[in-house]
Symmetry: C2
Protein backbone atom coordinates (compact mmCIF):
# COMPACT_ATOMS: atom_id res chain seq x y z
CA UNK A 1 0.00 0.00 0.00
CA UNK A 2 1.04 3.55 -0.80
CA UNK A 3 2.69 4.92 2.43
CA UNK A 4 0.96 7.94 3.99
CA UNK A 5 2.70 11.32 3.67
CA UNK A 6 2.19 14.75 5.24
CA UNK A 7 3.00 18.12 3.70
CA UNK A 8 4.29 21.34 5.27
CA UNK A 9 3.99 24.58 3.30
CA UNK A 10 5.78 27.77 4.30
CA UNK A 11 4.09 30.59 2.40
CA UNK A 12 6.21 33.72 1.97
CA UNK A 13 5.61 37.03 0.24
CA UNK A 14 7.23 35.80 -2.95
CA UNK A 15 7.75 32.03 -2.69
CA UNK A 16 6.28 28.92 -1.07
CA UNK A 17 8.65 26.36 0.46
CA UNK A 18 7.35 22.81 0.73
CA UNK A 19 8.53 19.73 2.58
CA UNK A 20 6.94 16.32 2.24
CA UNK A 21 7.60 13.67 4.91
CA UNK A 22 6.25 10.31 6.01
CA UNK A 23 3.20 10.55 8.27
CA UNK A 24 4.87 8.46 11.02
CA UNK A 25 6.06 10.34 14.10
CA UNK A 26 9.67 10.37 15.34
CA UNK A 27 11.77 12.27 17.90
CA UNK A 28 14.19 13.56 15.28
CA UNK A 29 13.67 16.13 12.57
CA UNK A 30 11.14 14.85 9.95
CA UNK A 31 13.21 13.64 6.98
CA UNK A 32 12.24 15.16 3.62
CA UNK A 33 10.79 12.88 0.95
CA UNK A 34 10.60 15.96 -1.25
CA UNK A 35 11.52 19.57 -0.62
CA UNK A 36 11.56 22.66 -2.80
CA UNK A 37 10.41 26.17 -3.62
CA UNK A 38 7.69 27.45 -5.95
CA UNK A 39 6.21 30.88 -6.63
CA UNK A 40 3.52 32.18 -4.26
CA UNK A 41 0.10 32.07 -5.95
CA UNK A 42 -1.12 35.66 -5.68
CA UNK A 43 -4.59 35.64 -7.24
CA UNK A 44 -6.47 32.54 -6.09
CA UNK A 45 -4.45 31.29 -3.13
CA UNK A 46 -6.71 28.30 -2.33
CA UNK A 47 -6.61 26.87 -5.87
CA UNK A 48 -2.92 27.75 -6.14
CA UNK A 49 -1.90 26.07 -2.88
CA UNK A 50 -4.08 23.02 -3.65
CA UNK A 51 -2.31 22.67 -7.01
CA UNK A 52 1.08 22.87 -5.28
CA UNK A 53 0.02 20.19 -2.78
CA UNK A 54 -1.12 17.85 -5.57
CA UNK A 55 2.05 18.42 -7.59
CA UNK A 56 4.32 17.77 -4.60
CA UNK A 57 2.40 14.70 -3.38
CA UNK A 58 2.67 13.37 -6.95
CA UNK A 59 0.26 10.48 -6.43
CA UNK A 60 1.40 9.57 -2.90
CA UNK A 61 -1.30 9.13 -0.23
CA UNK A 62 -1.44 12.64 1.34
CA UNK A 63 -3.10 12.55 4.81
CA UNK A 64 -2.51 16.04 6.31
CA UNK A 65 -1.26 19.50 5.34
CA UNK A 66 -0.17 22.42 7.51
CA UNK A 67 0.31 25.85 5.97
CA UNK A 68 2.57 28.47 7.60
CA UNK A 69 1.39 32.03 6.90
CA UNK A 70 3.17 35.37 7.47
CA UNK A 71 0.47 37.05 9.57
CA UNK A 72 -2.04 36.62 12.34
CA UNK A 73 -3.98 33.36 12.17
CA UNK A 74 -6.75 31.75 14.17
CA UNK A 75 -5.31 28.26 14.48
CA UNK A 76 -8.51 26.76 15.91
CA UNK A 77 -10.54 27.82 12.87
CA UNK A 78 -7.77 27.72 10.27
CA UNK A 79 -8.48 31.33 9.35
CA UNK A 80 -6.00 34.03 8.31
CA UNK A 81 -6.96 37.09 10.38
CA UNK A 82 -4.50 39.51 8.85
CA UNK A 83 -1.52 39.18 6.58
CA UNK A 84 0.12 42.53 5.91
CA UNK A 85 2.45 41.03 3.29
CA UNK A 86 -0.11 38.77 1.57
CA UNK A 87 -3.32 40.82 1.47
CA UNK A 88 -5.05 38.18 -0.74
CA UNK A 89 -5.18 35.94 2.35
CA UNK A 90 -6.73 38.57 4.67
CA UNK A 91 -9.79 37.14 6.39
CA UNK A 92 -9.65 33.90 4.39
CA UNK A 93 -10.84 30.61 5.96
CA UNK A 94 -7.82 28.98 4.32
CA UNK A 95 -7.84 25.75 6.38
CA UNK A 96 -11.44 24.70 5.64
CA UNK A 97 -11.21 25.83 1.98
CA UNK A 98 -7.97 23.96 1.31
CA UNK A 99 -9.26 20.95 3.24
CA UNK A 100 -12.35 20.84 1.01
CA UNK A 101 -10.19 21.14 -2.13
CA UNK A 102 -7.75 18.36 -1.08
CA UNK A 103 -10.06 16.21 1.05
CA UNK A 104 -7.52 15.96 3.92
CA UNK A 105 -7.24 17.81 7.25
CA UNK A 106 -5.48 21.17 6.77
CA UNK A 107 -4.05 23.31 9.59
CA UNK A 108 -2.97 26.93 9.42
CA UNK A 109 -0.15 28.26 11.57
CA UNK A 110 1.83 31.48 11.80
CA UNK A 111 5.04 31.03 9.78
CA UNK A 112 7.27 32.45 12.51
CA UNK A 113 5.71 30.08 14.99
CA UNK A 114 6.25 27.10 12.68
CA UNK A 115 9.92 28.01 12.23
CA UNK A 116 10.27 28.78 15.93
CA UNK A 117 8.93 25.44 17.06
CA UNK A 118 11.36 23.70 14.70
CA UNK A 119 14.35 25.86 15.71
CA UNK A 120 13.57 25.48 19.41
CA UNK A 121 13.22 21.73 19.09
CA UNK A 122 15.83 20.72 16.51
CA UNK A 123 17.83 23.89 15.74
CA UNK A 124 19.77 26.53 17.68
CA UNK A 125 17.41 26.27 20.66
CA UNK A 126 17.77 22.51 21.14
CA UNK A 127 18.23 21.76 24.84
CA UNK A 128 17.14 25.24 26.04
CA UNK A 129 14.05 25.72 28.22
CA UNK A 130 13.20 29.28 27.21
CA UNK A 131 13.74 30.27 23.58
CA UNK A 132 12.72 33.41 21.70
CA UNK A 133 12.95 32.93 17.95
CA UNK A 134 12.96 35.73 15.46
CA UNK A 135 12.66 35.51 11.68
CA UNK A 136 14.05 38.46 9.71
CA UNK A 137 12.63 38.58 6.22
CA UNK A 138 9.96 40.57 4.35
CA UNK A 139 8.27 40.79 7.74
CA UNK A 140 9.68 40.09 11.20
CA UNK A 141 8.01 37.32 13.18
CA UNK A 142 8.81 36.40 16.78
CA UNK A 143 7.81 33.44 18.94
CA UNK A 144 8.47 32.69 22.57
CA UNK A 145 8.77 28.97 23.33
CA UNK A 146 9.00 27.73 26.91
CA UNK A 147 9.30 24.01 27.63
CA UNK A 148 8.54 23.25 23.98
CA UNK A 149 5.29 25.20 23.93
CA UNK A 150 4.56 28.52 22.25
CA UNK A 151 3.69 31.20 24.83
CA UNK A 152 1.29 33.21 22.74
CA UNK A 153 -0.59 35.37 25.20
CA UNK A 154 -4.23 35.75 26.10
CA UNK A 155 -5.33 36.34 22.48
CA UNK A 156 -2.64 34.36 20.64
CA UNK A 157 -0.67 37.34 19.32
CA UNK A 158 2.28 37.62 21.73
CA UNK A 159 5.81 37.85 20.34
CA UNK A 160 5.22 40.50 17.64
CA UNK A 161 8.73 41.97 17.92
CA UNK A 162 8.43 43.31 14.35
CA UNK A 163 5.74 45.71 15.57
CA UNK A 164 7.58 47.09 18.57
CA UNK A 165 8.01 50.81 17.89
CA UNK A 166 11.69 51.75 17.76
CA UNK A 167 11.41 55.12 15.97
CA UNK A 168 8.31 56.92 17.34
CA UNK A 169 8.33 59.48 14.49
CA UNK A 170 9.45 56.92 11.91
CA UNK A 171 7.95 55.57 8.71
CA UNK A 172 4.38 54.28 8.40
CA UNK A 173 4.08 50.54 8.90
CA UNK A 174 1.62 48.23 7.11
CA UNK A 175 0.15 47.53 10.57
CA UNK A 176 -0.98 51.15 10.96
CA UNK A 177 1.63 52.29 13.49
CA UNK A 178 4.70 54.41 12.80
CA UNK A 179 8.31 53.35 13.31
CA UNK A 180 7.80 49.63 13.96
CA UNK A 181 10.98 47.54 13.85
CA UNK A 182 9.80 46.22 10.45
CA UNK A 183 9.90 49.75 9.00
CA UNK A 184 13.64 49.87 9.66
CA UNK A 185 14.98 46.35 9.28
CA UNK A 186 12.33 44.43 7.28
CA UNK A 187 13.69 43.47 3.84
CA UNK A 188 11.72 46.13 1.89
CA UNK A 189 12.82 48.84 4.35
CA UNK A 190 16.48 47.80 4.10
CA UNK A 191 16.24 47.74 0.31
CA UNK A 192 14.78 51.27 0.25
CA UNK A 193 17.42 52.58 2.67
CA UNK A 194 20.20 50.94 0.65
CA UNK A 195 18.91 52.26 -2.69
CA UNK A 196 18.43 55.74 -1.18
CA UNK A 197 22.05 55.65 0.00
CA UNK A 198 23.07 55.03 -3.63
CA UNK A 199 23.53 51.27 -3.31
CA UNK A 200 22.29 48.92 -6.00
CA UNK A 201 20.25 45.77 -5.68
CA UNK A 202 18.66 43.94 -2.79
CA UNK A 203 19.35 43.56 0.95
CA UNK A 204 21.57 40.62 -0.07
CA UNK A 205 23.71 43.05 -2.08
CA UNK A 206 23.64 45.46 0.87
CA UNK A 207 25.02 42.77 3.19
CA UNK A 208 27.68 41.80 0.63
CA UNK A 209 28.73 45.46 0.35
CA UNK A 210 28.80 45.70 4.17
CA UNK A 211 31.03 42.62 4.24
CA UNK A 212 33.32 44.37 1.75
CA UNK A 213 33.51 47.49 3.95
CA UNK A 214 31.38 49.82 1.78
CA UNK A 215 30.78 52.89 4.01
CA UNK A 216 27.23 53.48 2.78
CA UNK A 217 26.40 49.85 3.52
CA UNK A 218 27.93 50.17 6.99
CA UNK A 219 25.65 53.15 7.75
CA UNK A 220 22.50 51.35 6.53
CA UNK A 221 23.32 48.07 8.30
CA UNK A 222 24.27 49.91 11.50
CA UNK A 223 20.93 51.70 11.59
CA UNK A 224 19.08 48.41 11.02
CA UNK A 225 21.18 46.52 13.57
CA UNK A 226 20.68 49.39 16.04
CA UNK A 227 16.91 49.23 15.66
CA UNK A 228 17.03 45.46 16.09
CA UNK A 229 19.20 45.91 19.21
CA UNK A 230 16.72 48.43 20.67
CA UNK A 231 13.79 46.06 20.07
CA UNK A 232 15.76 43.21 21.63
CA UNK A 233 16.50 45.35 24.72
CA UNK A 234 12.75 45.95 25.07
CA UNK A 235 12.24 42.19 24.73
CA UNK A 236 14.81 41.55 27.48
CA UNK A 237 13.04 44.04 29.78
CA UNK A 238 9.57 42.56 29.24
CA UNK A 239 10.11 38.87 28.44
CA UNK A 240 13.69 38.03 29.58
CA UNK A 241 14.24 34.94 27.40
CA UNK A 242 16.99 32.35 27.93
CA UNK A 243 18.29 32.42 24.36
CA UNK A 244 17.42 34.44 21.26
CA UNK A 245 17.61 32.60 17.93
CA UNK A 246 17.61 34.79 14.82
CA UNK A 247 16.75 33.26 11.47
CA UNK A 248 15.23 34.33 8.18
CA UNK A 249 16.83 35.44 4.92
CA UNK A 250 18.46 38.55 6.40
CA UNK A 251 20.15 36.51 9.12
CA UNK A 252 21.81 33.97 6.84
CA UNK A 253 25.56 33.26 6.94
CA UNK A 254 27.87 35.05 7.58
CA UNK A 255 25.24 36.51 9.95
CA UNK A 256 26.57 40.08 9.82
CA UNK A 257 23.27 41.66 10.90
CA UNK A 258 22.98 39.28 13.87
CA UNK A 259 26.62 39.82 14.89
CA UNK A 260 26.29 43.62 14.70
CA UNK A 261 22.95 43.66 16.57
CA UNK A 262 24.41 41.42 19.28
CA UNK A 263 27.36 43.80 19.72
CA UNK A 264 24.98 46.76 20.03
CA UNK A 265 22.79 44.92 22.56
CA UNK A 266 25.91 44.23 24.67
CA UNK A 267 26.93 47.91 24.35
CA UNK A 268 23.50 49.33 25.27
CA UNK A 269 22.36 46.85 27.94
CA UNK A 270 22.19 48.23 31.48
CA UNK A 271 20.07 46.28 34.00
CA UNK A 272 19.19 43.69 31.35
CA UNK A 273 20.40 40.09 31.43
CA UNK A 274 21.69 39.54 27.92
CA UNK A 275 21.14 35.92 26.84
CA UNK A 276 23.02 34.20 24.02
CA UNK A 277 21.92 35.72 20.69
CA UNK A 278 22.63 33.11 18.03
CA UNK A 279 21.85 32.49 14.36
CA UNK A 280 19.25 29.88 13.52
CA UNK A 281 20.74 26.61 12.32
CA UNK A 282 17.86 25.06 10.32
CA UNK A 283 18.21 27.78 7.70
CA UNK A 284 15.45 28.68 5.30
CA UNK A 285 13.70 25.33 5.76
CA UNK A 286 12.81 25.92 9.43
CA UNK A 287 9.27 27.06 8.61
CA UNK A 288 8.59 24.08 6.34
CA UNK A 289 10.10 21.68 8.92
CA UNK A 290 7.87 23.15 11.64
CA UNK A 291 4.83 22.95 9.33
CA UNK A 292 5.50 19.31 8.45
CA UNK A 293 5.97 18.47 12.17
CA UNK A 294 2.60 20.13 12.87
CA UNK A 295 1.07 18.19 9.95
CA UNK A 296 2.23 14.95 11.58
CA UNK A 297 0.65 16.06 14.87
CA UNK A 298 -2.55 17.05 13.03
CA UNK A 299 -2.70 13.62 11.37
CA UNK A 300 -2.08 11.87 14.72
CA UNK A 301 -5.11 13.58 16.27
CA UNK A 302 -7.41 13.54 13.23
CA UNK A 303 -10.51 11.28 13.44
CA UNK A 304 -9.41 9.17 10.46
CA UNK A 305 -6.03 8.42 12.05
CA UNK A 306 -7.72 7.70 15.38
CA UNK A 307 -10.21 5.34 13.70
CA UNK A 308 -7.31 3.54 11.97
CA UNK A 309 -5.46 3.03 15.25
Amino acid sequence: MNAAVVLGLDVGGSSVKYRLASAGSSDGIPAAIAQGTVQTPKKDPVAGLAAIARDVAAGRRLVAVVVGIPGLVDEDRGTVLRSANLPALDGLALGPALSAALDVPVGVINDGRAAAVAEARWGAGAGERDVFTLALGTGIAGSHIVDGRVVDGAHGIAGELGHVVVEPSGASCACGQRGCLETVVGAPALRRAWNRAGGEGSPKDLLAAYEAGDERAVRVVDRGAGALADAILTLLALVDPGVIVIGGGLASAPHRLVVRARALVDERATFHRVPPIVPATLGKWAGAVGAVAEARALHDRSPVALAAN
Copy 2:
Protein backbone atom coordinates in the same frame (compact mmCIF):
# COMPACT_ATOMS: atom_id res chain seq x y z
CA MET B 1 0.23 30.28 74.04
CA ASN B 2 0.95 33.47 72.12
CA ALA B 3 -0.51 32.93 68.58
CA ALA B 4 2.05 32.98 65.74
CA VAL B 5 2.06 36.02 63.45
CA VAL B 6 3.72 36.86 60.13
CA LEU B 7 4.78 40.29 58.89
CA GLY B 8 4.76 41.78 55.41
CA LEU B 9 6.82 44.92 54.75
CA ASP B 10 6.46 47.00 51.60
CA VAL B 11 9.55 49.22 51.42
CA GLY B 12 9.15 52.33 49.31
CA GLY B 13 11.44 55.23 48.48
CA SER B 14 10.07 57.30 51.35
CA SER B 15 7.91 55.07 53.54
CA VAL B 16 7.52 51.46 54.68
CA LYS B 17 4.03 49.94 54.81
CA TYR B 18 3.56 47.02 57.19
CA ARG B 19 0.84 44.45 57.66
CA LEU B 20 0.78 41.88 60.43
CA ALA B 21 -1.45 38.80 60.10
CA SER B 22 -1.94 35.44 61.77
CA ALA B 23 0.42 32.75 60.50
CA GLY B 24 -2.47 30.41 59.58
CA SER B 25 -3.25 30.05 55.88
CA SER B 26 -6.64 30.85 54.31
CA ASP B 27 -8.13 31.25 50.84
CA GLY B 28 -9.20 34.85 51.45
CA ILE B 29 -7.11 37.97 51.83
CA PRO B 30 -4.96 37.78 55.02
CA ALA B 31 -6.77 39.91 57.64
CA ALA B 32 -4.64 42.61 59.26
CA ILE B 33 -3.87 42.33 62.98
CA ALA B 34 -1.93 45.58 62.60
CA GLN B 35 -1.28 47.77 59.58
CA GLY B 36 0.43 51.12 59.12
CA THR B 37 3.16 53.27 57.62
CA VAL B 38 6.54 54.37 58.96
CA GLN B 39 9.46 56.26 57.46
CA THR B 40 11.96 54.29 55.35
CA PRO B 41 15.23 53.83 57.27
CA LYS B 42 17.84 55.32 54.93
CA LYS B 43 21.19 54.80 56.70
CA ASP B 44 21.25 51.32 58.25
CA PRO B 45 18.38 49.50 56.52
CA VAL B 46 18.88 46.15 58.31
CA ALA B 47 18.82 47.64 61.82
CA GLY B 48 16.02 49.99 60.80
CA LEU B 49 13.78 47.27 59.34
CA ALA B 50 14.50 44.95 62.30
CA ALA B 51 13.41 47.73 64.68
CA ILE B 52 10.20 48.23 62.67
CA ALA B 53 9.48 44.47 62.78
CA ARG B 54 9.98 44.36 66.59
CA ASP B 55 7.80 47.45 67.12
CA VAL B 56 4.98 46.09 64.95
CA ALA B 57 5.09 42.56 66.43
CA ALA B 58 4.92 44.22 69.87
CA GLY B 59 5.69 41.07 71.81
CA ARG B 60 3.65 38.69 69.62
CA ARG B 61 5.33 35.47 68.43
CA LEU B 62 6.69 36.53 64.99
CA VAL B 63 7.46 33.45 62.80
CA ALA B 64 8.22 34.85 59.32
CA VAL B 65 8.82 38.15 57.54
CA VAL B 66 8.74 39.00 53.84
CA VAL B 67 10.13 42.31 52.60
CA GLY B 68 8.99 43.85 49.31
CA ILE B 69 11.73 45.94 47.68
CA PRO B 70 11.54 48.38 44.74
CA GLY B 71 14.23 46.85 42.57
CA LEU B 72 15.76 43.63 41.29
CA VAL B 73 16.08 40.91 43.91
CA ASP B 74 17.44 37.39 43.98
CA GLU B 75 14.58 35.69 45.80
CA ASP B 76 16.45 32.43 46.31
CA ARG B 77 19.26 34.17 48.21
CA GLY B 78 17.26 37.05 49.70
CA THR B 79 19.65 39.53 48.09
CA VAL B 80 18.85 42.96 46.64
CA LEU B 81 20.66 43.04 43.29
CA ARG B 82 19.84 46.61 42.36
CA SER B 83 17.49 49.21 43.72
CA ALA B 84 17.65 52.43 41.70
CA ASN B 85 15.44 54.28 44.19
CA LEU B 86 17.00 52.89 47.40
CA PRO B 87 20.74 52.76 46.70
CA ALA B 88 21.50 51.86 50.35
CA LEU B 89 20.06 48.40 49.58
CA ASP B 90 22.16 47.79 46.43
CA GLY B 91 23.90 44.43 46.68
CA LEU B 92 22.73 43.85 50.25
CA ALA B 93 22.02 40.29 51.46
CA LEU B 94 18.95 41.69 53.20
CA GLY B 95 17.17 38.38 53.82
CA PRO B 96 20.00 36.62 55.69
CA ALA B 97 20.98 39.81 57.60
CA LEU B 98 17.43 40.55 58.74
CA SER B 99 16.87 36.86 59.53
CA ALA B 100 19.96 36.91 61.79
CA ALA B 101 18.78 40.10 63.51
CA LEU B 102 15.22 38.81 64.13
CA ASP B 103 15.91 35.06 64.40
CA VAL B 104 13.03 34.16 62.01
CA PRO B 105 12.97 33.22 58.29
CA VAL B 106 13.00 36.37 56.13
CA GLY B 107 12.18 36.45 52.44
CA VAL B 108 12.86 39.25 49.96
CA ILE B 109 10.57 39.90 47.01
CA ASN B 110 10.20 42.58 44.36
CA ASP B 111 7.55 45.05 45.57
CA GLY B 112 5.71 45.12 42.27
CA ARG B 113 5.59 41.35 42.27
CA ALA B 114 4.21 41.28 45.83
CA ALA B 115 1.49 43.76 44.90
CA ALA B 116 0.84 41.96 41.64
CA VAL B 117 0.33 38.57 43.25
CA ALA B 118 -2.14 40.14 45.69
CA GLU B 119 -3.99 42.13 42.98
CA ALA B 120 -4.16 39.11 40.67
CA ARG B 121 -5.45 36.87 43.46
CA TRP B 122 -7.71 39.13 45.52
CA GLY B 123 -7.94 42.44 43.64
CA ALA B 124 -8.82 43.64 40.14
CA GLY B 125 -7.41 40.45 38.57
CA ALA B 126 -9.48 38.02 40.63
CA GLY B 127 -10.90 35.34 38.34
CA GLU B 128 -8.62 36.17 35.36
CA ARG B 129 -6.09 33.66 34.01
CA ASP B 130 -3.58 36.10 32.56
CA VAL B 131 -2.96 39.35 34.45
CA PHE B 132 -0.32 42.04 33.93
CA THR B 133 -0.05 44.32 36.95
CA LEU B 134 1.63 47.68 36.89
CA ALA B 135 2.49 49.89 39.87
CA LEU B 136 2.93 53.60 39.09
CA GLY B 137 4.88 55.35 41.82
CA THR B 138 8.43 56.60 42.35
CA GLY B 139 9.40 53.76 40.06
CA ILE B 140 7.23 51.67 37.73
CA ALA B 141 7.09 47.93 38.43
CA GLY B 142 5.35 45.37 36.25
CA SER B 143 4.50 41.71 36.81
CA HIS B 144 2.93 39.13 34.54
CA ILE B 145 0.88 36.52 36.38
CA VAL B 146 -0.52 33.49 34.56
CA ASP B 147 -2.55 30.90 36.45
CA GLY B 148 -1.56 32.52 39.74
CA ARG B 149 2.17 32.29 39.08
CA VAL B 150 4.58 35.08 38.24
CA VAL B 151 6.05 34.62 34.75
CA ASP B 152 9.44 36.16 35.39
CA GLY B 153 11.58 35.01 32.50
CA ALA B 154 14.79 33.03 32.27
CA HIS B 155 16.68 35.31 34.72
CA GLY B 156 13.77 36.50 36.87
CA ILE B 157 13.61 40.06 35.51
CA ALA B 158 10.71 39.94 33.03
CA GLY B 159 7.96 42.57 33.27
CA GLU B 160 10.13 45.69 33.58
CA LEU B 161 7.68 47.96 31.76
CA GLY B 162 9.19 50.99 33.54
CA HIS B 163 12.38 50.45 31.54
CA VAL B 164 10.82 50.12 28.12
CA VAL B 165 12.22 53.02 26.08
CA VAL B 166 9.43 55.31 24.88
CA GLU B 167 11.50 58.40 24.01
CA PRO B 168 14.76 57.22 22.39
CA SER B 169 16.40 60.66 22.76
CA GLY B 170 14.76 61.31 26.12
CA ALA B 171 16.06 61.94 29.63
CA SER B 172 18.67 59.79 31.36
CA CYS B 173 17.19 57.04 33.51
CA ALA B 174 18.64 55.75 36.79
CA CYS B 175 19.00 52.38 34.99
CA GLY B 176 21.52 53.82 32.53
CA GLN B 177 19.29 53.98 29.45
CA ARG B 178 17.64 57.11 28.00
CA GLY B 179 13.92 57.72 27.69
CA CYS B 180 12.60 54.81 29.77
CA LEU B 181 8.90 55.01 30.64
CA GLU B 182 9.97 55.93 34.20
CA THR B 183 11.72 59.07 32.91
CA VAL B 184 8.35 60.38 31.67
CA VAL B 185 5.70 59.07 34.02
CA GLY B 186 7.53 58.08 37.24
CA ALA B 187 6.54 60.36 40.13
CA PRO B 188 9.81 62.39 40.15
CA ALA B 189 9.59 62.89 36.37
CA LEU B 190 5.97 64.04 36.58
CA ARG B 191 6.84 66.41 39.43
CA ARG B 192 9.69 67.95 37.41
CA ALA B 193 7.53 68.32 34.30
CA TRP B 194 4.73 69.87 36.36
CA ASN B 195 7.04 72.30 38.14
CA ARG B 196 8.73 73.21 34.85
CA ALA B 197 5.32 73.99 33.38
CA GLY B 198 4.79 76.47 36.24
CA GLY B 199 2.67 74.17 38.41
CA GLU B 200 3.21 73.98 42.15
CA GLY B 201 3.54 70.94 44.37
CA SER B 202 3.61 67.21 43.75
CA PRO B 203 2.14 64.83 41.15
CA LYS B 204 -0.92 64.72 43.44
CA ASP B 205 -1.35 68.47 42.92
CA LEU B 206 -0.77 67.94 39.19
CA LEU B 207 -3.60 65.40 39.02
CA ALA B 208 -5.89 67.69 41.05
CA ALA B 209 -5.14 70.54 38.64
CA TYR B 210 -5.79 68.20 35.69
CA GLU B 211 -9.12 67.28 37.27
CA ALA B 212 -9.91 71.03 37.51
CA GLY B 213 -9.08 71.52 33.81
CA ASP B 214 -5.78 73.44 34.23
CA GLU B 215 -4.31 73.55 30.70
CA ARG B 216 -0.70 73.15 31.85
CA ALA B 217 -1.72 70.08 33.85
CA VAL B 218 -3.56 68.65 30.82
CA ARG B 219 -0.38 68.96 28.73
CA VAL B 220 1.80 67.28 31.37
CA VAL B 221 -0.68 64.48 32.09
CA ASP B 222 -1.29 63.89 28.37
CA ARG B 223 2.43 63.44 27.74
CA GLY B 224 2.68 61.01 30.65
CA ALA B 225 -0.45 59.10 29.66
CA GLY B 226 0.80 59.01 26.06
CA ALA B 227 4.12 57.48 27.13
CA LEU B 228 2.26 54.96 29.27
CA ALA B 229 -0.01 54.13 26.32
CA ASP B 230 3.01 53.59 24.04
CA ALA B 231 4.64 51.25 26.58
CA ILE B 232 1.36 49.37 26.96
CA LEU B 233 1.10 48.96 23.16
CA THR B 234 4.60 47.43 23.20
CA LEU B 235 3.44 45.15 26.02
CA LEU B 236 0.40 44.08 23.96
CA ALA B 237 2.64 43.29 20.97
CA LEU B 238 5.12 41.21 22.96
CA VAL B 239 3.16 39.74 25.89
CA ASP B 240 -0.56 40.06 24.96
CA PRO B 241 -2.01 39.86 28.50
CA GLY B 242 -5.68 39.18 29.32
CA VAL B 243 -6.14 42.14 31.64
CA ILE B 244 -3.91 45.04 32.72
CA VAL B 245 -4.28 46.19 36.33
CA ILE B 246 -2.75 49.57 37.15
CA GLY B 247 -2.07 50.47 40.77
CA GLY B 248 0.35 52.63 42.73
CA GLY B 249 0.03 56.17 44.08
CA LEU B 250 -0.29 57.80 40.65
CA ALA B 251 -3.17 55.52 39.70
CA SER B 252 -5.32 56.21 42.74
CA ALA B 253 -8.96 57.37 42.45
CA PRO B 254 -10.32 59.05 40.37
CA HIS B 255 -7.78 57.21 38.17
CA ARG B 256 -7.35 60.07 35.67
CA LEU B 257 -3.97 58.85 34.44
CA VAL B 258 -5.31 55.32 33.89
CA VAL B 259 -8.44 56.58 32.14
CA ARG B 260 -6.43 58.86 29.83
CA ALA B 261 -3.82 56.17 29.05
CA ARG B 262 -6.60 53.67 28.27
CA ALA B 263 -8.22 56.12 25.85
CA LEU B 264 -4.87 56.67 24.10
CA VAL B 265 -4.23 52.90 23.87
CA ASP B 266 -7.65 52.48 22.22
CA GLU B 267 -6.86 55.37 19.85
CA ARG B 268 -3.38 54.10 18.86
CA ALA B 269 -3.96 50.33 18.76
CA THR B 270 -3.85 48.75 15.29
CA PHE B 271 -3.32 44.95 15.13
CA HIS B 272 -3.20 44.75 18.94
CA ARG B 273 -5.87 43.05 21.03
CA VAL B 274 -6.61 45.63 23.72
CA PRO B 275 -7.53 43.89 26.99
CA PRO B 276 -9.43 45.54 29.84
CA ILE B 277 -7.19 48.18 31.48
CA VAL B 278 -8.48 48.65 35.01
CA PRO B 279 -7.40 50.37 38.23
CA ALA B 280 -6.12 48.18 41.04
CA THR B 281 -8.64 47.63 43.81
CA LEU B 282 -6.45 46.73 46.80
CA GLY B 283 -5.06 50.27 46.90
CA LYS B 284 -1.79 51.18 48.54
CA TRP B 285 -1.81 48.05 50.72
CA ALA B 286 -1.47 45.61 47.82
CA GLY B 287 2.31 45.27 48.30
CA ALA B 288 2.00 44.65 52.04
CA VAL B 289 -0.86 42.17 51.47
CA GLY B 290 1.25 40.28 48.91
CA ALA B 291 4.26 40.32 51.25
CA VAL B 292 2.23 38.99 54.19
CA ALA B 293 0.76 36.24 51.95
CA GLU B 294 4.32 35.30 50.92
CA ALA B 295 5.36 35.36 54.60
CA ARG B 296 2.62 32.82 55.36
CA ALA B 297 3.88 30.65 52.49
CA LEU B 298 7.46 31.04 53.75
CA HIS B 299 6.41 29.98 57.24
CA ASP B 300 4.48 27.00 55.84
CA ARG B 301 7.59 25.65 54.09
CA SER B 302 10.18 26.63 56.77
CA PRO B 303 11.89 23.74 58.61
CA VAL B 304 10.53 24.91 61.99
CA ALA B 305 6.94 24.87 60.70
CA LEU B 306 7.52 21.51 59.01
CA ALA B 307 9.00 20.06 62.24
CA ALA B 308 5.95 21.33 64.16
CA ASN B 309 3.53 19.62 61.75
